[in-house]
């Protein structure tokens, strides 16, 4: 679920406080959200699209979102909920528009990343696991924050991380733990 602004609090007990500006959040988090989505979708343009939409959604109701503890988490939740199917559709749209506009130059689809195999394996995981691992690797977020974004318990995140890593290691033919 998205947009879970706490309106009970807002109505009964308006709290004046210094809200972060949208611009600051956009500047600091936009590239990171794109990186996160790229890990999940493998499409640069699709990632930028969804990131744009997530930020646009935040911008539209910034008055609500600014009062959240972590507006960035809200944006990420919106972004990953739009998910892979959206990215795929967006790419079809971009292609169609390019066709319509007679544009010859296709956009670079890949974000410079030399480990497509890794992200491909992540994308092959069940949805929740893939999201958890993308938040973990691409965003390098702590478990607590991942839990906040996914709207689940920290323990659940750990389970997803554990299972996801196991599956990933199997797919990539690697050991799970570091060499020390």
């Amino acid at each position: 679920m998205i947009g879970a602004a706490d309106r009970w609090t807002e109505v009964s007990d308006p709290q004046p406080c210094v809200a972060p500006t949208f611009e600051a959040l956009y500047r600091s988090d936009f590239p990171r959200v794109v990186a996160l989505l790229y890990g999940l979708t493998g499409s640069r343009a699709g990632s930028e699209e969804i990131a744009q939409e997530a930020f646009l959604a935040a911008h539209r109701r910034w008055a609500d979102i600014a009062s959240l503890d972590n507006p960035g988490a809200w944006v990420r939740r919106v972004a990953i909920n739009r998910g892979v199917s959206t990215a795929r559709r967006r790419m079809a749209e971009v292609r169609a528009l390019s066709r319509l506009a007679g544009q010859r130059r296709p956009l670079p689809e890949r974000l410079a990343s030399d480990d497509e195999e890794f992200w491909g394996a992540v994308r092959g995981l069940p949805k929740r696991q893939a999201q958890t691992l993308a938040l973990h690797y691409a965003e390098d977020l702590p478990v607590a924050e991942i839990a906040e974004i996914l709207g689940c318990a920290e323990a659940t995140v750990r389970v997803h991380l554990h299972r996801g890593r196991k599956a990933l290691a199997l797919r990539l033919g690697m050991r799970e733990e570091g060499e020390g």
């Binding site: 679920m1 947009g3 009970w8 590239p31 790229y38 539209r60 319509l100 974000l111």
Partner: protein
């Protein structure tokens, strides 16, 4: 070399973060046409979203601009920032007047403007405008008018509509030559006296002598006439102009910005200031004029149910003009923007390179002009009578490539360019006929309205002929469907008729073919019958076939209505609802309601739940926010929201059906008086529950939900073909 998974993952993560890091320079850098871009303009502190659909210039370094400028010797100015929500930009060069290539922007009119000399500006002591036009009149039947005799002829005295205090006197001097005298300062008798003293000089009119201290302040030969509901368009006689228009996807809430660069003198600014009672603004270091006015527009739309609805909306139109350089004027007009947005766009002008310019013009050429499709959209734009008639399509158009297309698609493509299709059919019986030859060839430039010959070759009859339900009649006709980028009704509309004909051939009992603009109607087509969903390219075609699941009605054998709903996916703004503007008043508040935004891909109630999207409602402030949100929810999405992809079983039919809402110890009990008709179907109930859950559980204090119908939890579940009473836990 072996490394651990964790190390590899962290390295891969760091790599994408590094690569993404450069994505937000100061003005945003997202490339490509047809994409929504969020742009932060630090200098202005304004956010802009540019959805450059067709005429932006996209360079390989990823920079994209919206370009505005002009032809001839005039500078080609680049408009690099456009206010939020504008998604379409089109450009055209206007050839010099007299070439016959475009309609004159205004009537062939001259304007002389007289003022009394005082220290407070040219018009502080009085003003008098004299329009002389061939073939036009400013006389209006709006409001009260009075007939006087001037120069032995009947003349009409009236207030100029929408202009503050401007009084006009108009008469026909000789057939076809209309004279209008207008003033804010002079009374009716003075206007009549001024008109009586005019004398004819050639085919124009001038005062024989000026008294009362009046002197000529400004003169525009061949000025356009700022008629009612028209924008002041730059004078045409003195040069060329190029206009760009950005429009919103939603015609009812149309916003636009037009920038024109044209030759002209400071007289144009004086005329503008006078006509619109404009204010002085400094733009790009030049003194300019800002005029504003309210424009009321009526938007007539035909819904998927065949009903037409009219929406009347009022918005503010701004006109901003200044002299950019000696003899070079820039006029910008915008609707439903803020003054700041327009000024911000004006400040963002910069000169374009030749390459950009050519790219822009060729991109605009690819697009069927907005005036080609006609219909309601064309009518709406009468407010922009001048520039839009020439935007996007001159009289010369490029013949599209229709080889290999289905016949209907080819016809639509040809019609979309304003051309006539002349078809030589070799096999009329097959809907799969494809075009094997065309004349003139693709890419040829021909006059608009010219004929394009199409020759078809029949394809083998499809299985659809035996059983239309088994093989979709459009299976071989993907080209007939709008592309997913074609969210613009103007592009899509020409496709409807051929589509209708094709489907009617396959389904003779069909009562209609409906094209749902960007989804939304899929699940509201009815609850009783079988719904088949088929993926055709990236469009979703929903065919409701009544009771017969496997084979749809055969010709004459079945009377059941058949409806087709095309639900193309959204481009850009899918399920993004407008937020009420401004802060809610003291007695108001905004609540969120969640409607479905399914694309048909959801396979479980959980996915449906995740696919709900919020829409905002401004409601009367009440202590029970949850009740207010539910009241708003059961009234269903607005027409505009359905247009952008929101779907819901709730509609005006269920409005006011909240019987009671009670929250105790985290348990919310929601009691309804009636449910949507399709609540008993599996799809209908899933949507219903998803929307109710999303709307209720947006409030963190609610931990569980119990739904009741007329006070009974069992009745509710029974209506949904379930049994017993269950409490829905917070997800």
């Amino acid at each position: 070399m072996s490394s651990s998974l964790e190390a590899r993952g962290r390295a891969a993560g760091a790599a994408v973060r590094r690569a993404a890091d450069g994505l937000v320079p100061d003005h945003g850098s997202l490339p490509a046409r047809g994409r929504r871009r969020l742009i932060v303009m630090p200098a202005l502190g304004v956010l802009a979203v540019i959805g450059v659909v067709l005429a932006s210039v996209s360079r390989s370094d990823g920079e994209a601009q919206v370009v505005a400028g002009s032809a001839g010797d005039l500078p080609r100015l680049v408009l690099s920032q456009v206010p939020v929500g504008l998604t379409e930009v089109r450009a055209v060069e206007l050839p010099p007047e007299g070439s016959g290539a475009v309609q004159p922007l205004g009537r062939d009119t001259s304007l002389r403007l007289y003022g009394r000399s005082t220290s407070g500006g040219p018009f502080a002591g009085g003003d008098l405008g004299l329009f002389v036009s061939r073939g036009g009149t400013l006389a209006t039947d709006a409001g009260e008018s009075e007939v006087r005799t001037v120069r032995g002829r009947q003349a009409v005295l009236a207030d100029v509509p929408d202009q503050r205090g401007l009084r006009s006197l108009s008469f026909e001097e000789v057939p076809g030559l209309t004279v209008v005298v207008a003033s804010r300062s002079e009374d009716d008798d003075a206007l009549v006296a001024f008109a009586d003293d005019l004398e004819q000089v050639g085919d124009s009119m001038q005062p024989a002598e000026l008294d009362d201290g009046f002197h000529l302040v400004a003169e525009q030969r061949s000025a356009s006439v700022p008629e009612q509901a028209s924008l002041p368009i730059p004078p045409r006689a003195e040069g060329h102009a190029v206009s760009f228009i950005g429009r919103s996807e939603d015609a009812a809430a149309e916003r636009y910005v037009i920038a024109s660069v044209h030759a002209g003198s400071a007289d144009h600014l004086i005329v503008l200031r006078w006509w619109f009672d404009g204010e002085t603004r400094t733009i790009r270091g030049h003194e300019g004029v800002l005029a504003r006015r309210e424009v009321v527009s009526t938007n007539v739309a035909t819904g998927s149910d065949g009903m037409t609805a009219a929406e009347v909306s009022t918005s503010e139109v701004f006109v901003l003009a200044w002299e950019e350089a000696d003899g070079v004027l820039v006029t910008m007009a915008s609707r439903a923007t803020s003054e700041e947005e327009l000024l911000g766009a004006a400040r963002s002008l910069r000169e374009a390179s030749d390459e950009e310019w050519q790219d822009l013009l060729s991109a605009a050429e690819e697009v069927p002009g907005p005036n080609v499709a006609g219909g309601a959209d064309a009518r709406e734009r009468t407010a922009l009578d001048g520039p839009t008639t020439s935007i996007g399509a001159g009289p010369v158009v490029v013949v599209p490539d229709v080889g290999g297309l289905g016949l209907a698609a080819a016809r639509a493509a040809v019609a979309g360019r304003g051309l006539r299709a002349e078809v030589e059919i070799t096999d009329a019986t097959s809907p799969g006929s494809t075009v094997v030859a065309q004349e003139p060839p693709a890419g040829a430039r021909v006059e608009r309205g010219a004929a394009v010959g199409l020759r078809t070759a029949g394809a083998a009859p499809s299985e659809a002929d035996q059983c239309p339900g088994a093989v979709h009649p459009l299976a071989g006709e993907a080209d007939l469907l709008p592309r997913s980028g074609d969210t613009d009704l103007e592009v899509v509309r020409p496709l409807v008729e051929p589509l209708r004909q094709l489907l009617e051939r396959s389904y003779p009992s069909a009562t209609g073919v409906y094209l749902a603009h960007r989804g939304g109607q899929v699940w509201s087509t009815g609850a009783s019958g079988t719904v088949q969903v088929q993926q055709v390219e990236d469009y979703q075609l929903v065919v409701e076939l009544g009771d017969e699941a496997d084979c749809p009605p055969q010709p004459t054998s079945h009377g059941a209505p058949v409806a087709f709903v095309l639900a193309p996916p959204m481009a850009g703004a899918r399920c993004s609802a407008d937020t009420p503007t401004g802060q809610p008043g003291p007695s108001e508040m905004d609540v969120l309601v969640f409607f479905s935004c399914g694309d048909g891909s959801a396979s479980s109630p959980e996915e449906l739940f995740e696919q709900t999207r919020p829409a905002s409602r401004r409601v009367v402030r009440t202590p029970s926010v949850l009740a207010a949100a539910l009241e708003a929810l059961v009234a269903g999405p607005t027409r505009v929201e359905r247009g952008v992809g929101f779907a819901s079983s709730f509609s005006s039919a269920t409005a006011g059906s909240v019987r009671g809402v009670n929250v105790e110890d985290g348990l919310a009990i929601v009691d309804l008086t009636r449910l949507p008709d399709n609540a008993s179907t599996s799809a209908g109930s899933a949507y219903l529950l998803a929307e109710l859950r999303s709307t209720v559980f947006q409030f963190p204090s609610v931990t569980a939900l119990e739904l009741r119908l007329e006070g009974s939890c069992e009745a509710f579940n029974e209506a949904l073909q379930a049994s017993g009473c269950r409490r829905i836990p917070r997800p």
